[in-house]
């Protein structure tokens, strides 16, 4: 069923929902952007649907709700340890289709990779329900169509934001009661059907081609362009890497916690091993790794779809103006050229 819901009414619903749920949505942090007098849009708990930024892409993805940037796993003393705890609240996340698909990719990594469920991910993920936000425009860095991530049926509510009214589709019966007295309307969520940016994916059929792709000259461009900052992987909804370390409290050197913190394959020390040995030593190596991970490796391993969902945040956040969609297209052109040479 779909309903026309005023902002005021939706805020009342939100107030009710917040008794059971932590409700996360992209919101604006004024003047907190990378550059002076620019805003930062990222996920945080909301108090009003008026806070939800639905008509601009968020700088960061919703992954930080269930894969926190800094996450304490357990606390330890000299003789004992205690697992970290989370509260009883369920989680409701406002998200666009690409992000919901992105979180499915994270599910694969955290829950299905190596037949080992990550309990710290799972305990948050199990709580999540999605509120689908309609994409009212196709932003110029989006390429969800090319990645097949423009659609989803994994949502409880779907919302189209208007000036002073929302169109709400209720898919999950749990939420039907909140809207029973509202005006029924004929609203069905419209998925984006075209992007300005079209990405052609590389067809890498065998290991021989893969080796040639490794040696492509195009990667070397990034030695001068990429500054290894890792803004791309931080913004990416599907990047899941973290580093685990023990933190010892300074007031008592025998007490501390084990925590994990996001890591980035774009950082120089990402592949550093004991003894200082490292095997992706240049920005070019790291750029190649990330690109292939997103549009080759993951699918090679898990079979169904590519890791990248085409949200385009890596492009938006790159302060060196490196476009990931253009990078993929360049790669595909090169692969096609190599293919012709073979034939």
């Amino acid at each position: 069923m779909s309903y026309a819901v005023s902002i005021e009414k939706m805020d009342k619903v939100l107030k009710e929902l917040k008794k059971k749920y932590r409700v996360y949505a992209p919101i604006r942090f004024e003047k907190r952007g990378r550059y002076s007098d620019t805003d930062l849009i990222r996920y945080a708990e909301i108090d009003s649907v008026k806070d939800v930024v639905y008509n601009e892409k968020s700088d960061f993805s919703p992954k930080e709700v269930i894969h926190p940037i800094t996450q304490t796993l357990f606390h330890f003393t000299e003789y004992e340890y205690r697992e970290s705890q989370i509260d009883d609240k369920e989680i409701l996340i406002f998200a666009h289709p690409c992000d919901i698909n992105g979180i499915k990719r994270l599910d694969t990594i955290f829950l299905e990779n190596g037949n080992n469920e990550d309990v710290y991910y799972k305990r948050l993920r199990d709580k999540v329900k999605f509120v689908l936000m309609e994409c009212q425009e196709d932003w110029d860095t989006c390429f969800c169509i090319s990645m097949g991530s423009n659609q989803t049926d994994d949502y409880s509510l779907a919302i189209k934001f208007g000036e002073d009214q929302l169109s709400v589709e209720v898919k999950d019966n749990e939420f039907e009661g909140f809207f029973a007295s509202e005006e029924e309307i004929d609203f069905t969520y419209k998925f984006v059907t075209a992007n300005q940016e079209e990405v052609n994916l590389p067809k890498i059929d065998d290991k021989e081609m893969l080796k040639k792709v490794y040696d492509l000259k195009m990667w070397e461009d990034y030695n001068a362009r990429c500054k290894d900052c890792g803004a791309c992987t931080s913004a990416c909804v599907t990047c899941s890497c973290f580093t685990t370390s023990d933190v010892i409290y300074s007031e008592n050197g025998r007490v501390g916690e084990r925590r994990r913190v996001w890591a980035s394959c774009q950082h120089e020390d990402f592949t550093e091993m004991a003894g200082g040995h490292s095997f992706r030593n240049t920005p070019a190596d790291r750029m190649r790794f990330r690109t292939l991970h997103k549009v080759y490796d993951y699918k090679e391993r898990f079979g169904e779809e590519h890791m990248c969902v085409g949200c385009g945040r890596c492009t938006d956040r790159c302060n060196q103006l490196i476009s990931f969609s253009k990078t993929i297209n360049k790669l595909t052109e090169e692969v096609n050229r190599l293919q012709k040479e073979v034939n």
Partner: protein, 336 residues
Amino acid sequence: MNHDINIGKLQRNCFRQSKVPGEFMLQMRVPGAVIDAKHLSLVQHVAETWGNGKFHIGTRQTFSLPGIKYENIDAVNEYIKSYIEAIEVELCDVEMDDTDKGYPTIGARNTTACIGNQHCIKGNFDTTSLARKLEKLIFPSNYHIKMSVAGCPNDCSKAHFTDFGIIGIAKMEYDYGRCIGCGKCIDACQGHATRVLSKSQGKIIKDTCCCAGCGECATVCPTGAWTRNATKFYRVIIGGRAGKQYPRMGKMFLNWVTEDVIMGIIGNWQDFSAEILEHKPIYLHGGHLIDRAGYDRFKEMILEGVELNPESEVAERIYWAETEYRANIHVKPVNK
């Protein structure tokens, strides 16, 4: 040519004497150094109609139009009325009795500025907007003052070499949870700033003593862990100057002050100048004026009635370091 021209009067009208007798260079103010490009056509018209067809991008960011003959000055002044009104009255809200006789005073020079955060990725604030607000405080006035406004501590506008240099700084705030300990901010601070960041237990610690407020850490932070406090803060450098006798770089007078403080101290400048110069607006660099008063008296008078925000820091004393072209008293000719 038998000229009989009161060049002092023309100078106060912003027409500068040329080495060619009877010719003058008009200096048109551009407070904060940014205006709409449409005004260029007026500048071009004046240069081509009454000047020698050229214009100099003045060292104080004026439009300087040389080669204007004395007899055409009235016509030029009449023509630039629309420019003066557009820039001084409309943009800067300056109170002027008369706009058809050209610029009424030259005392307070054009306030220079870098492009600031209107464009620059390093800029911490809108330099032009601040310069326009300052214009209302200093213009028109026969008392001399030179100011420069810099968007960040890079100080591309050379705030260190002017009477009052105002530099935009940002109070950086750190979100421990968002930090991934990658150390990019440490590298940036090490390479570009004051080396106040270091790593401890996978996160960043900061020596708050000496943060330059540049914002480099936020520029490179991949996760948005470093952000600028939304309040704009400023550093004020005083007493810098060029000149033949004792050029010197200015020194820090105030740090971490808000815009209200800036407006307060610049608002006090004319009274300070009048007091020290015994109400005779003679030409004296601001730095010399501060020297004449002595720093303690300057500080007392310039901060009169100014409410300092709690974050403010004020220089207790200033150690000037001049280059003494006039007073090389220890250097003697070899034969004596």
